[in-house]
């Protein structure tokens, strides 16, 4: 990575960490979702600085642009008010923190250990464009693509079935 790219990487990584923490700790669901969007966008910048522009744009289109809009759609339908905010505050205090905190601490210790030991794989050396990704997907990883498409087909059939049942008396 060159100088400006490296600076962009560290800034985006810091934004990703902070926005993810804020996404967890917000009490209003829509605010939490907004921080999650920022987190995804900063991860996209991280991908871009590491030489994966296709993955970066797909992150923006699919995660930040489509999936989280659906999340927001559902949250808007729920009509959450101050009562839910108080409930969130109650859930946040005390023992609920303990389990996730311990597990996250283990992961954090692992990451720090990996960095200290110098056993990192390092960033991508060259830019991986759309063509390279496509050749890999429809070459050695063909089975993975086909399996994913079957899974999606199953999901589509399932969704159609669920919506049909509602129509019956």
């Amino acid at each position: 990575m060159s100088g400006p790219m490296e600076a962009a990487f560290y800034v985006a990584a810091a934004v990703a960490v902070v926005s993810t923490l804020l996404a967890i700790s917000r009490l209003v669901a829509v605010h939490a979702l907004l921080y999650l969007i920022v987190s995804f966008l900063s991860v996209a910048v991280v991908f871009y600085t590491m030489g994966a522009p296709l993955v970066a744009t797909l992150e923006v289109i699919i995660y930040a642009g489509a999936i989280l809009v659906l999340f927001l759609f559902v949250v808007m339908m729920l009509n959450l008010g101050t009562r839910d905010r108080d409930q969130e505050r109650q859930w946040f205090s005390g023992a609920a923190w303990l389990g996730p905190a311990i597990l996250s601490a283990i992961l954090l210790a692992e990451v720090i250990y990996l960095i200290v030991s110098g056993a990192t794989t390092g960033g991508l050396s060259a830019t991986v464009g759309p063509k390279e990704v496509a050749l890999a997907l429809y070459g050695p990883y063909m089975i993975g693509v086909e399996l994913a498409s079957m899974l999606l087909l199953g999901a589509v059939v399932g969704a159609t079935h669920l919506s049909k049942q509602e129509a019956r008396p």
């Binding site: 209003v28 829509v30 605010h31 907004l34 969007i37 871009y48 522009p53 296709l54 970066a56 744009t57 797909l58 923006v60 289109i61 930040a64 642009g65 489509a66 809009v69 659906l70 927001l72 759609f73 808007m76 339908m77 830019t127 464009g129 759309p130």
Partner: protein, 317 residues
Amino acid sequence: MTSPYPFAAIFGVLIVALTFAAALIWVERRLLAVWQDRYGPNRTGPFGLLQVLADMIKIFTKEDWIPPFADKPVFVIAPAVIMITVLLSFAVVPFAPGIIVTNINNVALLFFLGMSSLGVYSIVLAGWSSGNKYSLLGGLRASAQMISYEVFMGMSLMGVVLLSGSFDLTTIVEAQRHLWFFVPQFLGFVLFLIAGVAESRRLPFDLPEAEAELVAGFHSEYSGMKFGMFFVGEYLGVLLISSMITVLFLGGWMGPVLPPILWFLIKMFALVCFFILLRATLPRPRFDQLMTWGWKLMLPLALANLLVTGAVVLAFR
């Protein structure tokens, strides 16, 4: 291919895009008036040209009111999102050889799609944060409409990508040297045009702000320049979709005799006029009709277009 003078390109594109968007307000009002057999704004300055300036002074000096029941931070951010996403998309548009801000490592087309999908948040968040049931309904409609139409918007472009073999917009324009993609990708062109109208929320697809049912939809509670940002954002969206259609289907800057940038502007302006003509002529559909149309007609057509294009490209390779 990135411009040798990045800052000149950035400011040039920004200033030109914003000026054109503001001028479009006058163009639209005059053209609508012509088609409806009246004069339109013709009092301020020659041909009413200063009407834009008058509107601007008015909108900047109006009271900037935030309703007490609104979610203040989100309410303030929402109008900025649409401006930022649309203006960022202009960065990848090649107006003429050398007049482009960046080609972002050859994924310019995907970048445009990403920014247009982020633009949805502006409308949805504006609707939600207003704390008003009409605004919320507008926001819900916007999210459903824009997600549905985004799907085949991307699909309809893939034919162009298949034919030119690249996501890079400059390469796509160069690939149209002999034949504009308008001809081999006519179905893709029509689908993208319709999706583009829906994405920029112009009539007949302006259901998120359908004033006959929802007061003013998602921007009911907005006033002053915050409303102005939605307003200018919509015109910027029209400009952006017109320039994207020009780049993808109408050969970009290609054309005889005249300088390239002029050809680009002529094609873009013709499309903008077509957008305004649509507004002047078509009625607004019902919301369920809009969704049915999107999923049951446009999406299968886009898929069929992709399939046939892929087969043809494979056969003639």
